[in-house]
Subunit: 142 residues, 2 copies
Amino acid sequence: MTTSADIDDREEGLAFQPKFDGSGLVTCVATDAATGDVLMVAHMNDEALRKTIATGEAWYFSRSRNALWRKGESSGQTQRVVEMRIDCDQDAIWIRVEQAGAACHTGRRTCFYRKVEAGAGGSRLSLVDADRLFDPAKIYRK
Amino acid sequence: MTTSADIDDREEGLAFQPKFDGSGLVTCVATDAATGDVLMVAHMNDEALRKTIATGEAWYFSRSRNALWRKGESSGQTQRVVEMRIDCDQDAIWIRVEQAGAACHTGRRTCFYRKVEAGAGGSRLSLVDADRLFDPAKIYRK
């Protein structure tokens, strides 16, 4: 049973007690420490979180590959963690990072390279910050 | 069946086709348009997303209350959307907002008011940007 004392403790206390979801994950937002841009939104399991804290480099858990993953292990595009924060209910992590090259597997600096805008026939996307810093076909060799 | 042509289209195309999870939600990160700080991580269903785009104010879907929710409707702490972006696989939204007052229900400007740091006996939290801009007991009257 979750009591209001538990909630107070999780929200106001200084004990690190991440609240993993049913799949054992928390959401992690990585922003560029220099510009404040959101680079990516991904997930961490307990091990990814521990390794990130211990090494100062970002580790994630890939839901599609069902595997722990050191950011940049195949691409070289690593993330050095400048600061880690946790939110009020401790189910989301924010890391400010120094990104080597591009965060996105498509080769862009950020995964958020498209803007959403209202249009007459519904919402449309337009490219923004969409230059590729690397060619994914060359980086992710099968 | 999801083909690689579908993936290419979702990642490289300019059609807005948000990928909702099994609960009908996408993750939304709101950052402060002025400072780049992450204010909160929340969720949007299709209706919240449409209303946000149509009105220019942030709407979310509360998983705990199982209800659509206009940010600030009880607290007055609204968010005006300056820009909306979507990520590569279209399952996460980033909004840059002008935040009226505080984003967090605890009264802080951001939900991320605690820093995570490695310590000898495990990770610990410390307060940062943790001043309260309002008293939650007064704002959220029962």
